[in-house]
Amino acid sequence: MSKSNFTRRGLLKTSAVAGAGLALPTIFTAQSAHAFTNEPTGGTVTLGFNVPQTGPYADEGADELRAYQLAVEHLNGGGDGGMLNTFSSKELDGTGILGKKVEYVTGDTQTKSDAARASAKSMIEKDGAIMITGGSSSGVAVAVQALCQEAGVIFMAGLTHSNDTTGKDKKANGFRHFFNSYMSGAALAPVLANAYGKDRKAYHLTADYNWGYTTEEAVRASTEAMGWETVAAVKTPLTQTDFSSYIAPVLQSGADTLVLNHYGGNMVNSLTNAVQFGLRDKQVNGKDFQIVVPLYSRLMAKGAGANVKGIFGSTNWHWSLQDAGSKAFVKSFGTKYGFPPSQAAHTTYVQTLLYADAVQRAGSFAPCAVAEALEDFEFDGLGNGKTLYRGADHQCFKDVLVVKGKENPTSEFDLLEIVEVTPAEQVTYAPDHPQMGGPEAVLGACNNGA
């Protein structure tokens, strides 16, 4: 280890700072030296990949990290170029971003907002990261997004599904490609009404925290608009592992549909428990009992095994999509790692490309310039069809996939099948929609930092 200052990276860095350093001691304030926080001066630019590496979402974080590494490889001209070939914007040419080679640092969010902020701060303060991206929960996304707003860097959200990220807590420096609770509800309701009829009685189990609340609200609103009735909604603690005492009374309530507003480990356990109780073999009100999981994650659904079969849910993206962009991404990811990417991997890969492209189009790394380039940007070829990055709330509007657990999977990755691709218009809402915090929620002004 003692020899490590002679490594490749060391040499690269030394040559880059040789001109600037080595002078007599100089004292200056950070403010006067740069036009904006962490302005890249050498031949490289550093991105910060902040993902959960410990804790229950570590596998999801690992998949995000794989996608980031792939994106960096493609941006620097390596590999087969992946989605760069199918992306509608042709600004990126494999020579890094604005001619600067892309480097990255990684950190561990632990899926805790404190730890995530500490990690993001170290990237900004120590490593000079110009953009922070990643995360696997809305709590972390909102916390890190607020930090990036203060510090004056761009935040490209990873997997975060709560309405709040681009609703109540939206920030001018933060951008989300992933879909949200409202979209899940709007996409699911018509499909559910179609498959299960319009006079269903729904029983909600909701994870007792912000994401659960927004998801329950969204699914309730859109299913009730279709004619469903909500019999009851019970909140379950996040730390709950055994859901039997919540599931057992469902049949007694006269409900014929169970909606599980749970994610991750909660979802795996509550779904497993619900199937164990044999709910799906029962008949209530003359109808087959059904279970719905508003937000699916393939990685996590694997933990529920055969229990997901035939259960409806929504997802941001799935590797079995047949458009050119998805195919290109699955091919380069699958060839490099040997298995298909998850939706978390997809959204983080796309976010990295979108950021790079926006910088390229803006001709500057300055956050405000990048934000302007991303706002109301329309693009295609990144796997979800035609997509709009809306300027009013920095949320992407694109098609939403309604999926169903597959009856006869051919491999361990083949768990979900796409039932319907809900067009973007159907899931679009006004920026000041009440579920998004109403008119009080403001985006604020973009911040270039120091």
Binding site: N5, V17, T54, A118
Partner: protein, 397 residues
């Protein structure tokens, strides 16, 4: 001087020197070297070192002196943080009232908790504190969302208009001390080294020095002696006609206020609070810090806090690519092999290293890192003694 004995004064001066020069000490490696990964001299981590140092000092005042093992101390840190951030959102962006608010709220909360929990001792006390902390966490995460912000926590928003501030329309307030922004830094670049002097860090460091001084005074005071009597034999103490309860409660409240101080400072440095701050693992962390450093010693808890925060923030950021760069000078096969060996312990495996470190310290150094230091210095002294048999280098005590 300052009411301290010569030895304590020495310790105080060393700690002062270390904290004031921390930006130099923590950045020993040149920016362009591969070892720069191990530099810890950036504002956020330096702030965390001293803030968690305060937290651990406070915890040690309770555990180290009275022997009462509180397993819910993070609740006070969290409550203090919530108090501080509301102060900033509603009243003033100046950090001083916010920190005071944090201390007061945590103090009041610890009076209530202490009154209930100190009715029991031993593990029953630990479980009572744990139960209260877990309840606080669970409620803050869910039912109390209107007050605590729930999962997404509280931040200062652009719509917040504190009473004593003159923010422009749409401007987001920032924590400051009479106009000095906490995040303001001066940078000194000497050759290939870059040193950052951060306003927030120095404020937190001064607070920590005061906290450290107060803790020395408590350790050496008759009150401190009384607390130690509680630890060694409570029954005997009550036979002498002294009631241990008020003393333990006082220690508990002081300790809780230290946690509130740390919580308030956390908010002052980084204006955000989330409920995980109160989860039982956070309470466990301060226990680990204190025991790792050395229970009942003055400097131990600070050292322990430093080691844990260093691992959490530095070790977790080393990824496979960085490893490959380090060992790039080796032949390919050997490089891969070494990376394969080291990889499980860094980056996403930092918890594993932490676990192993705890086990090693507890097994071989029951007195924590402080004992390790003492053993080394004793060993050096003995060797020196053996060399020049006169022992003339022995300092007079």
């Amino acid at each position: 001087m300052l009411g301290l004995t010569k030895k304590d004064l020495q310790l105080m001066l060393i700690v002062t020197g270390l904290t004031m020069l921390a930006p130099f000490i923590l950045n020993p490696f040149p920016e362009s070297s591969g070892m720069a990964q191990f530099n810890a001299g950036y504002p956020d981590l330096m702030q965390r070192f001293v803030i968690f140092g305060i937290f651990a000092i406070g915890f040690n005042l309770l555990f180290g002196l009275t022997g009462y093992l509180s397993f819910g101390h993070a609740a006070f840190l969290g409550v203090g943080s919530y108090g501080a951030i509301w102060m900033m959102k509603l009243v003033s962006l100046n950090v001083i009232p916010a920190i005071f608010m944090g201390v007061i709220v945590a103090g009041i909360f610890s009076v209530a908790v202490g009154y209930i929990c100190l009715r029991r001792s031993g593990i029953y006390f630990s479980i009572l504190t744990l139960a209260i902390a877990q309840m606080s966490y669970a409620l803050a995460y869910s039912v109390l969302t209107p007050i605590t912000g729930g999962e997404t926590g509280l931040q200062i928003k652009s719509t917040d208009r504190p009473l004593l501030s003159n923010l422009a329309e749409g401007e987001t307030g920032r924590a400051n001390l009479f106009g000095m922004d906490m995040r303001q830094s001066f940078e000194l670049s000497v050759g290939d080294w870059l040193f950052t002097f951060n306003v927030g860090y120095y404020i937190a460091a001064v607070v920590m020095l005061i906290a450290f001084y107060v803790s020395i005074r408590i350790f050496r005071s008759p009150f401190g002696l009384m607390l130690r009597a509680i630890k060694s034999n409570q029954t005997r103490m009550s036979y002498t006609g002294l009631n241990p309860r008020p003393h333990t409660l006082a220690a508990f409240v002081i300790s809780g206020m230290y946690a509130g101080l740390a919580g308030g400072l956390l908010v002052a440095m980084d204006t955000q609070v989330g409920p995980e701050r109160m989860f039982w693992t956070a309470s466990g962390e301060v226990v680990l810090m204190t025991i790792l450093g050395g229970v009942g010693t003055l400097i131990g808890p600070v050292l322990g806090a430093g080691v844990i925060k260093y691992m959490e923030n530095i070790l977790s950021k080393i990824n496979k690519d960085v490893l490959h760069e380090w060992f790039a000078f080796m032949p390919d096969g050997l490089e891969d092999f070494i990376v394969f060996l080291v990889y499980p312990f860094i980056g996403k495996g930092w918890h594993l290293t932490l676990g192993i470190l705890f086990m090693l310290v507890v097994i071989f150094l029951p007195g924590g890192l402080v004992e390790g230091g003492q053993r080394i210095s004793k060993w050096i002294k003995n060797r020196r003694k053996a060399k020049d048999t006169g022992g003339s280098t022995e300092p007079a005590e």
